[in-house]
Protein backbone atom coordinates (compact mmCIF):
# COMPACT_ATOMS: atom_id res chain seq x y z
CA UNK A 1 0.00 0.00 0.00
CA UNK A 2 2.69 2.43 1.00
CA UNK A 3 4.60 1.60 -2.18
CA UNK A 4 1.60 2.57 -4.24
CA UNK A 5 1.26 5.75 -2.26
CA UNK A 6 4.91 6.60 -2.71
CA UNK A 7 4.61 6.01 -6.45
CA UNK A 8 1.52 8.17 -6.56
CA UNK A 9 3.17 11.02 -4.72
CA UNK A 10 6.19 10.91 -6.95
CA UNK A 11 4.31 11.03 -10.24
CA UNK A 12 1.20 12.74 -9.05
CA UNK A 13 0.75 15.31 -11.77
CA UNK A 14 1.48 12.91 -14.60
CA UNK A 15 -0.82 10.28 -13.18
CA UNK A 16 -3.70 12.67 -12.72
CA UNK A 17 -3.24 14.06 -16.21
CA UNK A 18 -3.19 10.54 -17.60
CA UNK A 19 -6.43 9.72 -15.80
CA UNK A 20 -7.96 12.92 -17.08
CA UNK A 21 -6.88 12.15 -20.65
CA UNK A 22 -8.27 8.63 -20.36
CA UNK A 23 -11.57 10.06 -19.13
CA UNK A 24 -11.61 12.48 -22.06
CA UNK A 25 -11.30 9.79 -24.70
CA UNK A 26 -13.58 7.36 -22.90
CA UNK A 27 -16.84 8.30 -24.68
CA UNK A 28 -15.13 7.83 -28.05
CA UNK A 29 -13.69 4.45 -27.13
CA UNK A 30 -16.83 3.10 -25.52
CA UNK A 31 -19.29 3.17 -28.35
CA UNK A 32 -22.33 1.71 -26.69
CA UNK A 33 -24.57 4.61 -25.73
CA UNK A 34 -25.84 2.81 -22.63
CA UNK A 35 -22.36 2.51 -21.18
CA UNK A 36 -21.65 6.15 -21.83
CA UNK A 37 -24.86 6.90 -19.99
CA UNK A 38 -23.58 4.89 -17.05
CA UNK A 39 -20.34 6.82 -17.20
CA UNK A 40 -22.35 10.04 -17.07
CA UNK A 41 -24.23 8.73 -14.05
CA UNK A 42 -21.01 7.81 -12.32
CA UNK A 43 -19.58 11.27 -12.85
CA UNK A 44 -22.82 12.91 -11.78
CA UNK A 45 -23.09 10.95 -8.59
CA UNK A 46 -19.39 11.18 -7.91
CA UNK A 47 -19.70 14.94 -7.77
CA UNK A 48 -22.93 14.81 -5.78
CA UNK A 49 -21.38 12.38 -3.32
CA UNK A 50 -18.34 14.62 -3.21
CA UNK A 51 -20.50 17.55 -2.21
CA UNK A 52 -22.03 15.51 0.58
CA UNK A 53 -18.59 14.35 1.56
CA UNK A 54 -17.53 17.97 1.88
CA UNK A 55 -20.11 18.25 4.64
CA UNK A 56 -20.08 14.85 6.31
CA UNK A 57 -16.49 13.95 5.78
CA UNK A 58 -14.75 17.20 6.51
CA UNK A 59 -16.69 19.09 9.12
CA UNK A 60 -18.19 16.01 10.71
CA UNK A 61 -21.76 17.20 10.44
CA UNK A 62 -24.13 14.43 9.54
CA UNK A 63 -26.26 15.70 6.67
CA UNK A 64 -28.85 13.27 5.38
CA UNK A 65 -30.72 15.67 3.12
CA UNK A 66 -28.44 16.13 0.15
CA UNK A 67 -31.31 15.13 -2.14
CA UNK A 68 -33.03 18.38 -1.16
CA UNK A 69 -30.18 20.59 -2.35
CA UNK A 70 -29.87 18.46 -5.45
CA UNK A 71 -33.57 19.03 -6.10
CA UNK A 72 -33.22 22.78 -5.65
CA UNK A 73 -30.51 22.90 -8.27
CA UNK A 74 -32.47 20.75 -10.70
CA UNK A 75 -35.65 22.74 -10.29
CA UNK A 76 -33.95 26.11 -10.56
CA UNK A 77 -32.37 24.99 -13.80
CA UNK A 78 -35.58 23.48 -15.15
CA UNK A 79 -37.77 26.44 -14.25
CA UNK A 80 -35.44 29.18 -15.44
CA UNK A 81 -34.48 27.49 -18.66
CA UNK A 82 -38.01 26.48 -19.68
CA UNK A 83 -39.76 29.66 -18.56
CA UNK A 84 -37.22 32.37 -19.22
CA UNK A 85 -34.79 30.67 -21.53
CA UNK A 86 -31.79 31.48 -19.36
CA UNK A 87 -28.52 30.05 -20.59
CA UNK A 88 -27.46 26.79 -18.96
CA UNK A 89 -23.95 27.95 -18.20
CA UNK A 90 -25.31 30.97 -16.40
CA UNK A 91 -27.71 28.75 -14.53
CA UNK A 92 -24.98 26.53 -13.11
CA UNK A 93 -23.73 29.10 -10.60
CA UNK A 94 -27.24 30.47 -10.06
CA UNK A 95 -28.55 27.04 -9.07
CA UNK A 96 -25.57 26.61 -6.83
CA UNK A 97 -26.23 29.92 -5.10
CA UNK A 98 -29.92 29.07 -4.66
CA UNK A 99 -29.03 25.74 -3.11
CA UNK A 100 -26.43 27.39 -0.91
CA UNK A 101 -29.04 29.86 0.33
CA UNK A 102 -31.36 27.02 1.22
CA UNK A 103 -28.38 25.30 2.80
CA UNK A 104 -27.85 28.36 4.96
CA UNK A 105 -31.52 28.37 5.91
CA UNK A 106 -31.20 24.76 7.01
CA UNK A 107 -27.88 25.31 8.72
CA UNK A 108 -28.85 28.32 10.81
CA UNK A 109 -31.33 26.59 13.11
CA UNK A 110 -29.12 23.54 13.40
CA UNK A 111 -25.95 25.28 14.48
CA UNK A 112 -26.70 24.81 18.14
CA UNK A 113 -27.77 21.22 17.59
CA UNK A 114 -25.51 18.27 17.56
CA UNK A 115 -25.15 15.09 15.64
CA UNK A 116 -28.43 13.37 15.27
CA UNK A 117 -30.63 16.43 15.63
CA UNK A 118 -28.84 18.01 12.74
CA UNK A 119 -29.29 14.89 10.67
CA UNK A 120 -32.98 14.77 11.28
CA UNK A 121 -33.47 18.44 10.49
CA UNK A 122 -31.63 18.05 7.20
CA UNK A 123 -33.66 14.98 6.39
CA UNK A 124 -36.87 16.80 7.26
CA UNK A 125 -35.83 19.79 5.17
CA UNK A 126 -35.15 17.58 2.19
CA UNK A 127 -38.58 15.97 2.57
CA UNK A 128 -40.20 19.39 2.82
CA UNK A 129 -38.45 20.51 -0.36
CA UNK A 130 -39.65 17.38 -2.14
CA UNK A 131 -43.23 17.81 -0.97
CA UNK A 132 -43.25 21.45 -1.99
CA UNK A 133 -41.90 20.48 -5.41
CA UNK A 134 -44.62 17.90 -5.66
CA UNK A 135 -47.47 20.20 -4.73
CA UNK A 136 -46.57 23.68 -5.93
CA UNK A 137 -48.08 23.13 -9.34
CA UNK A 138 -47.87 26.61 -10.90
CA UNK A 139 -44.12 26.70 -10.46
CA UNK A 140 -42.81 23.16 -10.32
CA UNK A 141 -45.44 21.44 -12.39
CA UNK A 142 -46.58 19.39 -9.43
CA UNK A 143 -46.64 15.66 -9.85
CA UNK A 144 -46.35 16.01 -13.61
CA UNK A 145 -42.93 17.52 -13.29
CA UNK A 146 -41.18 19.65 -15.89
CA UNK A 147 -40.62 18.31 -19.37
CA UNK A 148 -38.44 19.31 -22.29
CA UNK A 149 -35.67 21.04 -20.46
CA UNK A 150 -33.45 22.50 -23.20
CA UNK A 151 -30.08 20.87 -23.76
CA UNK A 152 -27.11 23.09 -23.02
CA UNK A 153 -24.82 24.55 -25.59
CA UNK A 154 -21.39 23.00 -25.76
CA UNK A 155 -19.38 24.24 -28.72
CA UNK A 156 -22.15 23.22 -31.06
CA UNK A 157 -22.05 19.56 -30.03
CA UNK A 158 -25.26 17.54 -29.83
CA UNK A 159 -25.51 17.47 -26.10
CA UNK A 160 -28.66 15.40 -26.17
CA UNK A 161 -26.32 12.51 -26.81
CA UNK A 162 -24.75 11.20 -23.61
CA UNK A 163 -21.49 11.00 -25.51
CA UNK A 164 -21.20 14.77 -25.48
CA UNK A 165 -23.15 15.52 -22.33
CA UNK A 166 -20.52 13.43 -20.63
CA UNK A 167 -18.09 16.32 -20.99
CA UNK A 168 -20.32 18.65 -19.02
CA UNK A 169 -20.28 16.23 -16.11
CA UNK A 170 -16.57 15.71 -16.51
CA UNK A 171 -15.98 19.44 -16.45
CA UNK A 172 -18.07 19.92 -13.31
CA UNK A 173 -16.46 16.96 -11.61
CA UNK A 174 -12.93 18.13 -12.34
CA UNK A 175 -13.77 21.66 -11.32
CA UNK A 176 -15.24 20.37 -8.09
CA UNK A 177 -12.16 18.34 -7.29
CA UNK A 178 -9.78 21.19 -8.03
CA UNK A 179 -11.72 23.74 -6.02
CA UNK A 180 -12.37 21.42 -3.11
CA UNK A 181 -8.76 20.36 -3.00
CA UNK A 182 -7.69 23.96 -2.78
CA UNK A 183 -10.26 24.82 -0.14
CA UNK A 184 -9.35 21.86 1.99
CA UNK A 185 -5.70 22.76 1.97
CA UNK A 186 -6.40 26.26 3.13
CA UNK A 187 -7.23 27.92 6.39
CA UNK A 188 -10.92 27.26 5.78
CA UNK A 189 -10.43 23.56 5.19
CA UNK A 190 -8.28 23.24 8.27
CA UNK A 191 -10.97 24.96 10.30
CA UNK A 192 -13.56 22.47 9.01
CA UNK A 193 -11.40 19.50 9.85
CA UNK A 194 -10.63 20.88 13.28
CA UNK A 195 -14.36 21.12 13.93
CA UNK A 196 -14.75 17.51 12.89
CA UNK A 197 -11.98 16.40 15.16
CA UNK A 198 -12.76 18.37 18.28
CA UNK A 199 -15.18 21.23 18.38
CA UNK A 200 -14.26 22.57 21.80
CA UNK A 201 -10.58 22.62 21.02
CA UNK A 202 -11.33 24.38 17.74
CA UNK A 203 -13.28 27.02 19.62
CA UNK A 204 -10.53 27.49 22.13
CA UNK A 205 -8.20 28.30 19.25
CA UNK A 206 -10.48 31.01 17.97
CA UNK A 207 -12.19 29.12 15.15
CA UNK A 208 -15.70 30.55 14.84
CA UNK A 209 -17.34 27.16 14.65
CA UNK A 210 -20.83 28.44 13.84
CA UNK A 211 -19.55 30.45 10.91
CA UNK A 212 -17.43 27.66 9.52
CA UNK A 213 -20.13 25.08 9.97
CA UNK A 214 -22.64 27.14 8.03
CA UNK A 215 -20.00 27.94 5.43
CA UNK A 216 -19.33 24.24 5.10
CA UNK A 217 -23.00 23.52 4.74
CA UNK A 218 -23.37 26.18 2.09
CA UNK A 219 -20.35 24.88 0.24
CA UNK A 220 -21.76 21.35 0.11
CA UNK A 221 -25.20 22.62 -0.86
CA UNK A 222 -23.69 24.84 -3.56
CA UNK A 223 -22.11 21.92 -5.35
CA UNK A 224 -25.17 19.78 -4.92
CA UNK A 225 -27.11 22.58 -6.58
CA UNK A 226 -24.62 22.79 -9.43
CA UNK A 227 -24.84 19.05 -9.99
CA UNK A 228 -28.62 19.24 -9.85
CA UNK A 229 -28.52 21.93 -12.50
CA UNK A 230 -26.46 19.70 -14.75
CA UNK A 231 -28.73 16.76 -14.03
CA UNK A 232 -31.98 18.38 -15.14
CA UNK A 233 -31.18 18.79 -18.87
CA UNK A 234 -29.44 15.42 -18.89
CA UNK A 235 -32.61 13.51 -18.01
CA UNK A 236 -34.69 16.15 -19.77
CA UNK A 237 -37.59 15.56 -17.43
CA UNK A 238 -37.69 16.04 -13.69
CA UNK A 239 -40.35 15.37 -11.12
CA UNK A 240 -40.37 15.27 -7.37
CA UNK A 241 -40.03 11.54 -6.83
CA UNK A 242 -36.53 11.62 -8.28
CA UNK A 243 -35.45 13.51 -5.19
CA UNK A 244 -36.85 11.32 -2.44
CA UNK A 245 -34.98 10.51 0.73
CA UNK A 246 -33.92 7.28 -0.93
CA UNK A 247 -31.83 9.32 -3.35
CA UNK A 248 -30.28 11.03 -0.36
CA UNK A 249 -29.52 7.72 1.31
CA UNK A 250 -28.10 6.45 -1.95
CA UNK A 251 -25.62 9.27 -2.08
CA UNK A 252 -24.85 8.73 1.57
CA UNK A 253 -24.22 5.06 0.90
CA UNK A 254 -21.74 6.05 -1.80
CA UNK A 255 -19.59 8.09 0.50
CA UNK A 256 -19.85 5.47 3.20
CA UNK A 257 -18.75 2.71 0.89
CA UNK A 258 -16.10 4.81 -0.79
CA UNK A 259 -14.79 6.45 2.34
CA UNK A 260 -15.68 9.73 3.99
CA UNK A 261 -13.14 12.42 4.44
CA UNK A 262 -11.17 11.59 1.31
CA UNK A 263 -11.53 13.08 -2.13
CA UNK A 264 -11.20 9.70 -3.79
CA UNK A 265 -13.83 7.99 -1.66
CA UNK A 266 -16.99 9.47 -3.22
CA UNK A 267 -15.70 8.70 -6.71
CA UNK A 268 -15.04 5.08 -5.81
CA UNK A 269 -18.37 4.86 -4.03
CA UNK A 270 -20.22 6.29 -6.98
CA UNK A 271 -18.52 3.84 -9.32
CA UNK A 272 -19.26 0.85 -7.14
CA UNK A 273 -22.86 1.75 -6.44
CA UNK A 274 -23.69 2.72 -10.01
CA UNK A 275 -22.03 -0.30 -11.55
CA UNK A 276 -23.65 -2.56 -9.00
CA UNK A 277 -27.17 -1.23 -9.34
CA UNK A 278 -26.97 -1.03 -13.13
CA UNK A 279 -25.32 -4.36 -13.79
CA UNK A 280 -27.61 -6.19 -11.41
CA UNK A 281 -30.69 -4.63 -12.93
CA UNK A 282 -31.99 -8.08 -13.92
CA UNK A 283 -32.19 -9.00 -10.24
CA UNK A 284 -34.89 -6.40 -9.71
CA UNK A 285 -35.46 -5.74 -6.02
CA UNK A 286 -32.78 -8.20 -5.03
CA UNK A 287 -30.11 -5.74 -6.12
CA UNK A 288 -31.20 -3.34 -3.41
CA UNK A 289 -31.01 -6.18 -0.93
CA UNK A 290 -27.45 -6.85 -2.02
CA UNK A 291 -26.74 -3.15 -1.87
CA UNK A 292 -28.12 -2.89 1.67
CA UNK A 293 -26.10 -5.90 2.76
CA UNK A 294 -22.99 -4.27 1.34
CA UNK A 295 -23.65 -1.11 3.37
CA UNK A 296 -24.04 -3.14 6.55
CA UNK A 297 -20.97 -5.23 5.77
CA UNK A 298 -19.00 -2.04 5.17
CA UNK A 299 -20.02 -0.74 8.57
CA UNK A 300 -19.04 -4.00 10.20
CA UNK A 301 -15.74 -4.55 8.51
CA UNK A 302 -14.42 -1.23 7.31
CA UNK A 303 -16.39 1.72 8.66
CA UNK A 304 -13.97 4.21 7.12
CA UNK A 305 -14.83 3.04 3.62
CA UNK A 306 -12.63 1.63 0.90
CA UNK A 307 -10.50 4.67 0.31
CA UNK A 308 -10.57 5.94 3.85
CA UNK A 309 -7.43 5.40 5.81
CA UNK A 310 -7.95 5.36 9.52
CA UNK A 311 -6.88 8.97 9.30
CA UNK A 312 -10.06 10.36 10.71
CA UNK A 313 -12.48 10.30 13.54
CA UNK A 314 -14.91 8.84 11.05
CA UNK A 315 -12.92 5.66 10.90
CA UNK A 316 -14.19 4.55 14.24
CA UNK A 317 -11.85 6.65 16.24
CA UNK A 318 -9.25 3.98 16.63
CA UNK A 319 -5.73 4.81 15.86
CA UNK A 320 -2.99 2.28 15.54
CA UNK A 321 -0.20 3.12 17.87
CA UNK A 322 2.90 1.20 18.67
CA UNK A 323 3.30 2.04 22.36
CA UNK A 324 0.89 0.27 24.64
CA UNK A 325 -0.53 3.24 26.45
CA UNK A 326 -3.92 3.78 24.90
CA UNK A 327 -6.13 6.71 25.63
CA UNK A 328 -9.72 6.64 24.49
CA UNK A 329 -9.21 8.15 21.07
CA UNK A 330 -12.78 9.10 20.59
CA UNK A 331 -14.63 12.09 19.34
CA UNK A 332 -17.28 13.78 21.38
CA UNK A 333 -19.98 13.09 18.83
Amino acid sequence: MSKVQAFYHKHRTILLLAVFAALCVLPFVVTKALFVRYACNILLFATLAGSLNAINGYSGQMCLGQAGFFAIGAYVCAIFSTRFGVNFWLLLPISGVFAAMVGLLVALPTLKLQGIYLSIVTLGASEIIRIIAQTWEPVTGGALGIKNIPYPWLFGLDTFRPKYYYFIFLLIGVLFLLVTNRVLKSRVGRAWISIREDQIAAKSLGVQTSFYKSLNFMYGAFWAGVVGCAYAPFVNYIEASQFSTDTGFNVLAMIVIGGQGTLLGPILGSMIVTVLTESLRFLDNWRYVIYAVIIIMMMWLRPQGIAGASHSVLAGGKIKRKPVRREGARSHG
Binding site: M62, P109, T110, K112, L113, Q114, G115, I116, Y117, S119, I120, V121, L123, G124, A125, E127, I128, I131, I132, Q134, T135, T245, F249, L252, A253, V256, N285, W286, Y288, V289, Y291, A292, V293, I295, I296, M299, W300, P303, V313, L314, G316, G317, R330, S331, G333
Partner: protein, 295 residues
Protein backbone atom coordinates in the same frame (compact mmCIF):
# COMPACT_ATOMS: atom_id res chain seq x y z
CA UNK B 1 -65.93 25.26 13.63
CA UNK B 2 -67.56 21.88 13.43
CA UNK B 3 -65.06 20.76 10.85
CA UNK B 4 -62.23 22.02 12.97
CA UNK B 5 -63.45 20.11 16.00
CA UNK B 6 -63.81 16.95 13.97
CA UNK B 7 -60.30 17.40 12.70
CA UNK B 8 -59.19 17.87 16.27
CA UNK B 9 -60.70 14.51 17.15
CA UNK B 10 -58.95 12.95 14.17
CA UNK B 11 -55.78 14.64 15.26
CA UNK B 12 -56.03 13.31 18.79
CA UNK B 13 -56.65 9.82 17.52
CA UNK B 14 -53.78 9.91 15.06
CA UNK B 15 -51.68 11.65 17.65
CA UNK B 16 -52.29 8.84 20.10
CA UNK B 17 -50.93 6.35 17.57
CA UNK B 18 -47.94 8.62 17.08
CA UNK B 19 -47.64 8.73 20.84
CA UNK B 20 -47.36 4.96 20.93
CA UNK B 21 -44.75 5.08 18.18
CA UNK B 22 -42.84 7.73 20.06
CA UNK B 23 -42.95 5.74 23.27
CA UNK B 24 -41.46 2.73 21.52
CA UNK B 25 -38.84 4.91 19.91
CA UNK B 26 -37.92 6.53 23.20
CA UNK B 27 -37.49 3.16 24.83
CA UNK B 28 -35.07 2.16 22.09
CA UNK B 29 -33.14 5.41 22.18
CA UNK B 30 -33.07 5.47 25.95
CA UNK B 31 -31.96 1.94 26.56
CA UNK B 32 -29.71 1.37 23.59
CA UNK B 33 -28.44 4.93 23.54
CA UNK B 34 -28.50 5.16 19.76
CA UNK B 35 -31.11 6.31 17.32
CA UNK B 36 -32.55 4.12 14.65
CA UNK B 37 -33.82 4.58 11.14
CA UNK B 38 -35.27 1.08 10.96
CA UNK B 39 -38.26 1.91 13.07
CA UNK B 40 -40.62 2.34 10.12
CA UNK B 41 -39.74 -1.09 8.80
CA UNK B 42 -40.24 -2.58 12.22
CA UNK B 43 -43.72 -1.08 12.29
CA UNK B 44 -44.29 -2.49 8.86
CA UNK B 45 -43.37 -5.98 10.02
CA UNK B 46 -45.82 -5.58 12.90
CA UNK B 47 -48.53 -4.56 10.47
CA UNK B 48 -47.78 -7.50 8.21
CA UNK B 49 -47.75 -9.86 11.16
CA UNK B 50 -51.22 -8.65 12.05
CA UNK B 51 -52.35 -8.85 8.44
CA UNK B 52 -51.39 -12.49 8.15
CA UNK B 53 -52.83 -13.22 11.56
CA UNK B 54 -56.17 -11.91 10.32
CA UNK B 55 -55.80 -13.99 7.21
CA UNK B 56 -54.96 -17.28 8.89
CA UNK B 57 -56.47 -17.10 12.33
CA UNK B 58 -59.63 -15.14 11.70
CA UNK B 59 -60.74 -11.73 12.83
CA UNK B 60 -59.29 -11.71 16.27
CA UNK B 61 -57.92 -8.29 17.19
CA UNK B 62 -56.21 -9.42 20.39
CA UNK B 63 -54.40 -12.22 18.62
CA UNK B 64 -53.39 -9.87 15.82
CA UNK B 65 -51.91 -7.44 18.30
CA UNK B 66 -49.98 -10.22 19.97
CA UNK B 67 -48.74 -11.33 16.56
CA UNK B 68 -47.72 -7.79 15.67
CA UNK B 69 -45.87 -7.41 18.95
CA UNK B 70 -44.18 -10.77 18.59
CA UNK B 71 -43.04 -10.29 15.01
CA UNK B 72 -41.61 -6.87 15.70
CA UNK B 73 -40.07 -8.10 18.92
CA UNK B 74 -38.26 -10.87 17.05
CA UNK B 75 -37.10 -8.48 14.37
CA UNK B 76 -35.83 -6.30 17.18
CA UNK B 77 -33.38 -9.03 18.12
CA UNK B 78 -32.02 -9.09 14.59
CA UNK B 79 -31.76 -5.30 14.49
CA UNK B 80 -29.92 -5.32 17.77
CA UNK B 81 -27.47 -7.97 16.64
CA UNK B 82 -26.84 -6.36 13.27
CA UNK B 83 -26.86 -2.68 14.05
CA UNK B 84 -26.05 -2.07 17.68
CA UNK B 85 -24.20 -4.79 19.48
CA UNK B 86 -20.84 -4.19 17.85
CA UNK B 87 -21.03 -0.45 17.87
CA UNK B 88 -21.46 0.61 21.49
CA UNK B 89 -18.00 2.10 21.55
CA UNK B 90 -17.83 3.31 17.97
CA UNK B 91 -18.83 6.76 16.74
CA UNK B 92 -22.56 7.09 16.59
CA UNK B 93 -22.87 7.60 12.88
CA UNK B 94 -21.73 4.06 12.19
CA UNK B 95 -24.68 2.48 13.97
CA UNK B 96 -26.93 5.06 12.35
CA UNK B 97 -25.76 4.17 8.86
CA UNK B 98 -26.14 0.52 9.74
CA UNK B 99 -29.79 1.08 10.60
CA UNK B 100 -30.25 2.93 7.32
CA UNK B 101 -28.80 -0.06 5.52
CA UNK B 102 -30.99 -2.41 7.49
CA UNK B 103 -34.05 -0.35 6.70
CA UNK B 104 -33.24 -0.59 2.98
CA UNK B 105 -32.78 -4.32 3.36
CA UNK B 106 -36.09 -4.85 5.10
CA UNK B 107 -38.00 -2.62 2.75
CA UNK B 108 -36.84 -4.52 -0.31
CA UNK B 109 -37.07 -7.95 1.26
CA UNK B 110 -40.66 -7.26 2.23
CA UNK B 111 -41.42 -6.07 -1.28
CA UNK B 112 -39.97 -9.27 -2.64
CA UNK B 113 -41.69 -11.57 -0.18
CA UNK B 114 -45.07 -9.90 0.28
CA UNK B 115 -45.32 -8.01 -3.00
CA UNK B 116 -45.07 -4.27 -3.59
CA UNK B 117 -48.78 -3.56 -3.83
CA UNK B 118 -50.97 -2.15 -1.10
CA UNK B 119 -53.08 -4.73 0.64
CA UNK B 120 -56.47 -3.89 2.10
CA UNK B 121 -56.50 -4.34 5.85
CA UNK B 122 -59.54 -6.09 7.13
CA UNK B 123 -62.12 -3.80 8.65
CA UNK B 124 -61.95 -5.35 12.06
CA UNK B 125 -64.07 -2.82 13.88
CA UNK B 126 -67.40 -1.85 12.40
CA UNK B 127 -67.92 1.61 11.06
CA UNK B 128 -70.28 2.81 13.75
CA UNK B 129 -70.11 6.53 14.38
CA UNK B 130 -71.21 8.30 17.52
CA UNK B 131 -72.08 11.96 17.51
CA UNK B 132 -71.53 14.17 20.45
CA UNK B 133 -73.62 17.34 20.47
CA UNK B 134 -72.23 20.37 22.21
CA UNK B 135 -74.94 22.95 21.78
CA UNK B 136 -75.10 23.60 18.07
CA UNK B 137 -71.90 21.79 17.07
CA UNK B 138 -71.77 18.09 16.46
CA UNK B 139 -68.55 16.15 16.87
CA UNK B 140 -68.27 12.71 15.31
CA UNK B 141 -66.43 9.86 16.93
CA UNK B 142 -65.85 6.69 15.01
CA UNK B 143 -65.87 3.51 17.04
CA UNK B 144 -62.53 2.75 15.44
CA UNK B 145 -61.05 5.91 16.85
CA UNK B 146 -62.31 5.19 20.33
CA UNK B 147 -60.92 1.67 20.24
CA UNK B 148 -57.56 2.90 18.98
CA UNK B 149 -57.31 5.53 21.68
CA UNK B 150 -58.27 3.09 24.40
CA UNK B 151 -55.71 0.59 23.16
CA UNK B 152 -52.99 3.20 23.13
CA UNK B 153 -53.82 4.22 26.68
CA UNK B 154 -53.85 0.58 27.74
CA UNK B 155 -50.42 -0.11 26.28
CA UNK B 156 -48.90 3.10 27.56
CA UNK B 157 -50.12 2.36 31.08
CA UNK B 158 -48.95 -1.22 30.97
CA UNK B 159 -45.52 -0.15 29.78
CA UNK B 160 -45.29 2.37 32.59
CA UNK B 161 -46.23 -0.32 35.07
CA UNK B 162 -43.66 -2.63 33.56
CA UNK B 163 -40.99 -0.02 33.94
CA UNK B 164 -41.86 0.87 37.48
CA UNK B 165 -42.97 -2.38 39.03
CA UNK B 166 -40.93 -5.20 37.57
CA UNK B 167 -37.33 -6.19 38.06
CA UNK B 168 -36.66 -6.12 34.35
CA UNK B 169 -38.23 -2.70 34.07
CA UNK B 170 -36.00 -1.28 36.75
CA UNK B 171 -32.97 -2.84 35.10
CA UNK B 172 -33.99 -1.22 31.83
CA UNK B 173 -34.29 2.14 33.48
CA UNK B 174 -30.93 1.73 35.10
CA UNK B 175 -29.30 0.87 31.79
CA UNK B 176 -31.00 3.79 30.16
CA UNK B 177 -29.63 6.21 32.74
CA UNK B 178 -26.09 5.00 33.10
CA UNK B 179 -24.71 1.94 31.37
CA UNK B 180 -21.48 1.94 33.31
CA UNK B 181 -23.16 2.10 36.69
CA UNK B 182 -25.69 -0.52 35.68
CA UNK B 183 -22.83 -2.77 34.62
CA UNK B 184 -21.19 -2.29 38.02
CA UNK B 185 -24.43 -3.29 39.71
CA UNK B 186 -24.30 -6.63 37.99
CA UNK B 187 -26.84 -5.96 35.30
CA UNK B 188 -26.12 -7.65 32.01
CA UNK B 189 -26.10 -4.46 30.02
CA UNK B 190 -26.00 -6.00 26.57
CA UNK B 191 -28.87 -8.36 27.23
CA UNK B 192 -30.90 -5.61 28.87
CA UNK B 193 -30.23 -3.28 26.00
CA UNK B 194 -31.41 -5.99 23.65
CA UNK B 195 -34.56 -6.48 25.67
CA UNK B 196 -35.17 -2.73 25.65
CA UNK B 197 -34.66 -2.57 21.92
CA UNK B 198 -37.05 -5.47 21.43
CA UNK B 199 -39.72 -3.96 23.65
CA UNK B 200 -39.44 -0.67 21.83
CA UNK B 201 -39.71 -2.53 18.53
CA UNK B 202 -42.70 -4.47 19.80
CA UNK B 203 -44.49 -1.25 20.60
CA UNK B 204 -43.59 -0.03 17.14
CA UNK B 205 -45.25 -3.16 15.80
CA UNK B 206 -48.43 -2.42 17.74
CA UNK B 207 -48.38 1.14 16.43
CA UNK B 208 -47.96 -0.39 12.98
CA UNK B 209 -51.09 -2.51 13.25
CA UNK B 210 -53.09 0.39 14.68
CA UNK B 211 -51.99 2.62 11.82
CA UNK B 212 -52.88 0.05 9.22
CA UNK B 213 -56.26 -0.52 10.82
CA UNK B 214 -56.75 3.20 10.89
CA UNK B 215 -55.90 3.60 7.21
CA UNK B 216 -57.40 0.23 6.18
CA UNK B 217 -54.30 -0.68 4.20
CA UNK B 218 -50.96 -2.40 4.59
CA UNK B 219 -48.21 -1.52 2.19
CA UNK B 220 -44.50 -1.99 2.06
CA UNK B 221 -43.53 1.49 1.01
CA UNK B 222 -44.97 4.24 3.18
CA UNK B 223 -43.18 3.54 6.44
CA UNK B 224 -40.11 5.66 6.10
CA UNK B 225 -42.05 8.78 6.97
CA UNK B 226 -43.52 7.21 10.07
CA UNK B 227 -40.05 6.37 11.21
CA UNK B 228 -39.18 10.03 10.98
CA UNK B 229 -42.36 11.05 12.72
CA UNK B 230 -41.65 8.71 15.58
CA UNK B 231 -38.24 10.24 15.81
CA UNK B 232 -39.61 13.77 15.68
CA UNK B 233 -42.16 13.02 18.35
CA UNK B 234 -39.57 11.63 20.68
CA UNK B 235 -37.29 14.58 19.99
CA UNK B 236 -40.13 16.77 21.19
CA UNK B 237 -40.07 14.71 24.36
CA UNK B 238 -36.35 15.07 24.77
CA UNK B 239 -35.69 11.66 23.21
CA UNK B 240 -35.66 9.56 26.35
CA UNK B 241 -38.64 10.60 28.43
CA UNK B 242 -41.59 8.33 27.68
CA UNK B 243 -44.38 10.58 28.91
CA UNK B 244 -43.09 13.65 27.15
CA UNK B 245 -42.53 11.68 23.98
CA UNK B 246 -46.12 10.56 24.09
CA UNK B 247 -47.13 14.18 24.52
CA UNK B 248 -44.94 15.06 21.55
CA UNK B 249 -46.64 12.43 19.43
CA UNK B 250 -50.05 13.70 20.42
CA UNK B 251 -49.08 17.26 19.55
CA UNK B 252 -47.77 16.17 16.17
CA UNK B 253 -50.98 14.35 15.34
CA UNK B 254 -53.05 17.38 16.25
CA UNK B 255 -50.80 19.84 14.40
CA UNK B 256 -50.85 17.70 11.28
CA UNK B 257 -54.59 17.38 11.21
CA UNK B 258 -55.23 21.01 11.98
CA UNK B 259 -52.60 21.96 9.43
CA UNK B 260 -54.24 20.04 6.63
CA UNK B 261 -57.58 21.65 7.35
CA UNK B 262 -56.10 25.01 6.42
CA UNK B 263 -54.26 23.67 3.38
CA UNK B 264 -54.36 20.40 1.51
CA UNK B 265 -53.74 16.85 2.66
CA UNK B 266 -50.53 16.60 0.68
CA UNK B 267 -48.90 19.01 3.09
CA UNK B 268 -49.37 16.64 6.02
CA UNK B 269 -45.69 15.82 6.33
CA UNK B 270 -44.61 19.39 5.79
CA UNK B 271 -46.49 20.40 8.92
CA UNK B 272 -45.01 17.74 11.11
CA UNK B 273 -41.44 18.37 9.95
CA UNK B 274 -41.80 22.13 10.03
CA UNK B 275 -43.18 21.82 13.54
CA UNK B 276 -40.19 19.73 14.52
CA UNK B 277 -37.73 22.22 13.06
CA UNK B 278 -39.44 25.13 14.75
CA UNK B 279 -39.37 23.32 18.08
CA UNK B 280 -35.72 22.45 17.67
CA UNK B 281 -34.89 26.05 16.94
CA UNK B 282 -36.80 27.46 19.87
CA UNK B 283 -36.18 24.73 22.36
CA UNK B 284 -33.69 22.06 21.32
CA UNK B 285 -34.45 19.91 24.31
CA UNK B 286 -38.11 19.59 23.35
CA UNK B 287 -40.57 19.61 26.19
CA UNK B 288 -38.00 18.25 28.58
CA UNK B 289 -36.86 20.53 31.32
CA UNK B 290 -33.18 19.89 30.91
CA UNK B 291 -30.97 19.43 27.93
CA UNK B 292 -30.47 15.73 27.42
CA UNK B 293 -27.06 15.30 25.93
CA UNK B 294 -26.94 11.57 26.18
CA UNK B 295 -27.79 10.97 22.58
Amino acid sequence: MEYLLNQLVNGICQGSIYALMAIGYSVIVGVVGMVTFTYGEIMMIGAFGAFYSFQFFGNNLALAIVMAFASSFLLGIVVYKVCYERFFNAPRHIALLCTIGFSMLMKNLVQIVFGPEQKPMINIINNATYTLRLGSVAVDFKLLQIVVMLLVILFAVSLTLFFNRTRWGVALRAVSQNKQAAYMMGINVKRTAMLGNCIGCGFGGIAGILLSIYYYTVSSTIWGNFSMKAFSASVLGGLVDLRLSALGGLCMGIIENLGITISSATFRDVFSFAFLIVILVIRPQGFAAKKGSRV
